[in-house]
């Protein structure tokens, strides 16, 4: 059976094709301004028996393609547990939301927390801060990693933090230390969320921000257990969405709870 899992996020659309539970292909593309059409490219690319959508655009996909949908929470739980069978928790920092999930048996969600309506401390936040500092995203992470100490940034609101960063730059503060301060602030906030859902290790760190080495270091240093980063951190949701369909057929160990 061939299953397509689509994770339609605010910044990227991730597609994973499964053939009898194994990943045979995957793509990460920009969401652009017409995520529906961008998704259609993958849906029409080649034949599949089942399609499951997750992410921000799942309801639109459900209507457009007549497929089923699961939330990102369920999808990340399944995806993370399939990649790392001993995973006990998941952290996903995406384009405009952050989720922490505490996992039970076989990727079943036991508790979770999401950031509320604003994008504080997400990928979008880092993009805006990189621009304010005059760095590319990659450079900012690199600079943050190298800096020995961070300059505390008190606000996590994207708009307020941007003014704060601009103020620090104008005061002549070291940009690398500001970058580190920003990363530290996100890590602190994230570790607080993980505590609130009683997350234990191993923790799977997924989502676009897991590709940021400074963020990974800071989370790993502050977390009590092991932190695992999937090689393709962005496709965990799409993978989990596809697996959820296999579960409904009762054909995989990840969802059947055996």
């Amino acid at each position: 059976m061939r299953v397509l899992g689509l994770d339609i996020g605010s910044r990227s659309i991730d597609a994973v094709w499964l053939e009898d539970d194994r990943i045979v292909d995957w793509v990460v593309a920009d969401s652009g301004y017409d995520p529906g059409s961008a998704s259609a490219v993958f849906v029409e690319r080649d034949a599949h028996d089942l399609l499951v959508a997750t992410g921000y655009g799942r309801h639109v996909a459900k209507e457009r393609f007549g497929c089923s949908a699961v939330t990102e929470i369920t999808a990340y739980g399944l995806g993370a547990a399939a990649l790392f069978p001993n995973a006990a928790s998941v952290l996903d920092i995406g384009g405009q939301d952050t989720k922490v999930i505490s996992l039970g048996h076989a990727g079943r969600v036991v508790d979770f927390e999401m950031n509320d309506k604003c994008a504080a401390g997400t990928g979008k936040f880092l993009e805006v801060m990189a621009r304010a500092l005059g760095f590319s995203l990659e450079d900012m992470a690199e600079q943050a990693r190298k800096a020995e100490t961070g300059i505390a940034v008190s606000s996590m609101c994207t708009v307020f933090a941007e003014s704060e960063v601009t103020g620090l730059v104008h005061r002549g503060e070291d940009r690398a230390r500001i970058a580190r301060g920003l990363h530290e602030a996100i890590a602190k906030r994230t570790l607080g969320s993980l505590k609130r859902v009683s997350a234990t290790g191993p923790l799977v760190f997924a989502g676009g921000v897991a590709k940021n080495p400074a963020m990974v270091d800071l989370v790993a240093n502050g977390f009590s257990g092991e932190v695992l980063v999937p090689e393709e951190a962005q496709i965990v949701g799409a993978y989990g969405a596809a697996l959820s369909a296999c579960g409904s057929e009762g054909s995989t160990r990840w969802v059947s709870g055996s």
Partner: protein, 426 residues
């Protein structure tokens, strides 16, 4: 129901409403109602009455209040469960709830109140300042209460522009607090007599107690029927029944709700539900949902679950307790009224273990698969109490989702994702 729609504009104008703003409000509420309610399937037929009430909520009902007042009757506006309707009715007055369930004229409100005030308070002040609530404009007296700091101060502001009187509610439930509250209810007796010009007698209070108990009994029957799986009524519809209970004519409402309860009991007996058996069942607890606030129920039920009970002021707290009907003297009955009202478990009391016990008990009684604990943002009382509620529900073996929100619609997408994920988890 007449074929020709009645034009209520002259009546609204006479009440001093701002007609263009009020028209805009009615259009918005109509759309909201259509989207949340009229899209539901398998609704009980008895809901036709509440649909009709909603279509006439600022029309026919206001006309009834208007006619009542023209014959010398007095209308009392209230915002809270703690103001005893029995006393008002015993004096020959009518009690109505006031508009407080939608964002309106916040720009005007924020000129006199801090932005970080809860939606309920901002809303009632917005409705008043923008002159779009015909209930408050029909109220000869608004009776407030000291249930939280925000309301306490808001009534001072309201008092500058509307005839307002405030009851002092204790914050604890010790014998000395009950004694104080009994004295306060006696002050209400005097106030109601003064406003209406009528004297409250043992007979009039006995009759009022019976009437209001009957209304609560009808709502208890509707709630009890929801314990069946499948539930014969949606949470949204049951919530609407409770919301309308604050506004409608008491004997008529009781009669119509008993008819609805008859239908629900028959449906439950026949295994007929509003959603299939096995649909995820959710208990909602927390801050009240004033009409037309249906936001969380709508999100939960559109995500595919059914709300089976409300532990809130627009829910069980309103109807679960009755005033004993066996009092003989006026004094006994006033005491009985005071005692019943002090039993309500609002987060404004300390301690408030009764509420937590109610949540756990009801979750079991109604076969809930999970509990959603709702706080209005900036309602410090419910936000603080949330921790204890969560711990007790988890202890009882059920998952909890805590939501803090307001009346705006900007977080509906985010909340839907959280609610859907919660339901997938159950």
């Amino acid at each position: 129901m007449t074929d020709q729609p009645v034009d209520y504009h002259p009546m609204w104008e006479e009440l001093g409403l701002d007609l263009p703003s009020h028209d805009a409000l009615l259009t918005a509420v109509g759309q909201l109602f259509g989207d949340a309610y009229l899209t539901q399937e398998n609704r009980p037929k008895g809901m036709d009455y509440l649909n009709f009430v909603m279509s006439e909520v600022h029309g026919l009902r206001i006309k009834e209040l208007d006619d009542f007042r023209k014959q010398g009757g007095k209308v009392f506006g209230t915002f809270c469960l703690y103001v005893p309707e029995e006393i008002i009715r015993a004096a020959g007055g009518w009690s109505v709830g006031l508009c407080a369930g939608a964002e309106f004229a916040y720009d005007q409100v924020e000129q006199i109140m801090p932005r970080n005030t809860c939606s309920l308070i901002k809303s009632f002040m917005g409705f008043k300042l923008a002159k779009v609530c015909p209930y408050i404009e029909s109220a000869d007296l608004v009776i407030g209460e000291t249930t939280c700091d925000g309301k306490k101060k808001a009534y001072e502001l309201l008092g500058e522009i509307h005839n307002t009187w405030v009851m002092e509610l204790p914050q604890m439930k010790r014998p000395e607090d009950l004694a104080m509250w009994k004295a306060e209810v006696r002050e209400l007796v005097k106030k109601a007599e003064e406003v209406t010009g009528n004297t409250i007698t043992a007979d009039s209070l006995r009759a009022a107690i019976k009437e209001v108990n009957d209304k609560r009994r009808a709502l208890q029957r509707i709630a009890a029927a929801s314990a069946a799986d499948p539930s014969p009524i949606s949470g949204k519809d049951r919530l609407l029944a409770t919301q309308v209970a604050f506004y409608d004519d008491v004997p008529r409402f009781t009669q119509m709700m008993n008819a609805l309860a008859d239908e629900l009991e028959a449906r439950a007996g026949a295994g007929e539900g509003v959603a299939p058996r096995g649909t995820k069942r959710v208990l909602v607890t927390g801050t009240p949902m004033a009409l037309p606030n249906w936001k969380i129920h709508d999100i939960i039920e559109k995500a595919g679950a059914v709300v089976v009970a409300e532990e809130m002021c627009t829910g069980s707290r309103y109807y679960q307790d009755l005033v004993p009907e066996d009092g003989t003297t006026l004094d006994e009955m006033i005491d009985a009224v005071a005692e019943k009202y002090l039993d309500i478990n609002c987060a404004c009391f300390t301690p408030n273990q009764g509420r937590i016990d109610d949540v756990v008990r009801m979750a079991k009684e109604y076969g809930a698969d999970g509990v959603i604990d709702l706080s209005l943002q900036f309602c410090g009382l419910y936000e603080m109490e949330s921790h204890g509620v969560e711990a007790a529900v988890r202890e009882a073996g059920l998952p909890v989702l805590k939501i803090t929100t307001d009346y705006s619609m900007e977080d509906v997408g985010q909340l839907s994702t959280r609610v859907e994920a919660f339901l997938e988890m159950l």
